[in-house]
Point group: C2
Chain length 339, copies 2
């Protein structure tokens, strides 16, 4: 631990999503001093969107009470596609029209501070690695379960960002080579094609169409939308189909986790994101992760199967901006770019 008081240095973390942008001021120990969350308004385009982000940063710095020169660096996490070395967003799926935006340099130039771009799932993983559920880990994999299946891999304080900025995209590992489900990203038989929110609902609809009995049928007949939340509530209420669908998702996640364990062999695998069914706080969440562990024990080599911690992430929605700030801190420490 540094003997300095933690307010001497701080970092800005930005987590840009399709719906909201989250910004936090994070001190050298990983504690948020201030944070805010505002609509991205992606439909207004990149220029207005970036101006909005800059205002968010200014407001968060003001809120935190830190002096501007205490901010050493700024981390910005965005969804892909992106080119990390040049700091560019390329064609982000969740931000239509925000193409070829040099977001890193726009932010750096505006504030006169070093800025660092990172993939959003990687940033969330880095946040957990720095001060979350992975803080005692040397090498870590984190899944983010939501619309897509995000993944971030950290090995010995290094993010696996890849040579074409598509490292750690383990939601797209193949789990079923023949007759695999189709994913909108253009892949077949991948983990995301089974467990992403849309495909989770698809599996429910297919089971209903095949005649499975379930309370979910009433939802549809009432004209309501079938969502992961609705399915999860039905499972909580004892619906067998809903429960099966969730346990199947756990099985798929266990298979993908085995593949990543046989590649990276981390000491810790975490699960975060919206589709984690209440995590360790609910019986369903506990059964979900236990089913993942069971599948890993069945498939992985005995030593990593026994020794690798598999658990839920801890930082929730804050993982992204904390990780982005932590990554700025890490890069500042590395290159001396931050004075």
């Amino acid at each position: 631990m540094s003997p300095r008081t933690t307010d001497d240095h701080c970092y800005v973390g930005i987590d840009l999503g399709g719906t909201n942008v989250k910004v936090g001021i994070v001190n050298d120990a990983g504690r948020p001093l201030a944070n805010l969350k505002r609509p991205t308004h992606s439909e207004r385009g990149a220029e207005a969107g970036v101006a909005n982000i800059l205002r968010c940063v200014e407001d968060a710095v003001r809120q935190s009470g830190v002096k501007a020169d205490a901010v050493r660096g700024i981390g910005v996490a965005t969804p892909g596609t992106m080119d990390i070395p040049s700091g560019m967003m390329l064609r982000p799926h969740n931000l239509p029209g925000w193409n070829d935006v040099p977001i890193r340099d726009l932010i750096a130039d505006h504030f006169g501070k070093p800025a660092f771009l990172q993939n959003d799932a990687n940033a969330a993983a880095y946040g957990e690695y720095w001060v979350g559920a992975g803080r005692d880990s040397k090498s870590m994999v984190m899944w983010t379960l939501g619309t897509g299946i995000g993944c971030g891999i950290i090995i010995h304080d290094m993010i696996i960002e890849g040579e074409h900025s598509t490292g750690s995209e383990c939601g797209h590992v193949v789990i079923e080579m023949d007759n695999g489900r189709y994913c909108d990203t253009g892949q077949y038989g991948t983990l995301e094609a089974y467990t992403g929110a849309k495909y989770f609902v698809q599996r429910a609809l297919e089971a209903l169409a095949a005649g499975r009995e379930s309370s979910l049928r009433e939802v549809i007949e009432a004209g309501d939308e079938l969502t992961p939340l609705v399915i999860s509530q039905a499972a909580d209420a004892g619906d067998q189909l809903a429960d099966d669908l969730i346990m199947d998702s756990a099985r798929y996640m266990g298979i993908g986790t085995t593949t990543v364990m046989h590649t990276i062999d981390p000491d810790c695998v975490l699960l975060g994101g919206a589709m984690t069914f209440g995590r360790n706080e609910t019986p369903l969440g506990r059964r979900f992760i236990e089913r993942i562990r069971e599948e890993v024990r069945r498939r992985a080599f005995p030593v990593p199967a026994a020794k690798t911690l598999i658990d839920y992430a801890q930082l929730g929605e804050e993982a992204g901006y904390i990780g982005a700030a932590g990554w700025a801190r890490r890069k500042c420490g590395e290159g001396g770019a931050c004075g």
Copy 2:
């Protein structure tokens, strides 16, 4: 490049296999100054086996003409299972009975030089990364196709050895989750269960049992053994089943390669080992790798699919000991342990 003459420093590389041990003296530029290959005689047990290795090293140093104090360090590559941090072989599948052998320290103590243990497939990958087909690569994955499907991953001069010494075991990624083939290592539906030598032959036998016409049937009826070499010769001679079996292997390798690309995103993927069908030297070898590339183009994200080099390794049988020596050089440079 260092201004020193390359003979100032050299490294010993040991590649210990179930059948043979290969030892080389490698200079600072990765050039072998001497090398030898002798039977391992694993059936004589670990104590006699280690004594044999020590004699091999002494003979190779003598052959090379370098002075003993020019040797800075010794790298030793062994098959798993192993514990890399403690320098132990645990229960190597190919060396029955060589259990819990502290091979790194036995070698280091005998020669009074720092020694470093590494997994054999990782060492071969590191050899190619240092001075072989991956020498211009930043991040690299190398498959070694043989009895098993070995894999080595190098990212920015770091070998992914994992937290339990089971990193880079990508032969055991899952490619078919349900009804997958069984692999003797205890896994189901993994890449090795389809493409390892034994399973390659199994697929041939199954196709024959299912009534496929093929010249391979005559091999069996003549009482000869069906081997990968025999199948490959039949394919060369125009046998359609043999050709299909090899192209199916290529398809499986393309699927496994896609999974690893979506995890690591290297700039280079290499194929080495015995089951590479003549490599770029033969029409069959060229079609084999082209079929792998085709499968990757079909399945991987467009940017890495277009930009990742997929090719054959170059160092052949020498990759292992050159890589072991290179890894000793790398570790010597890192820690100052080598004076």
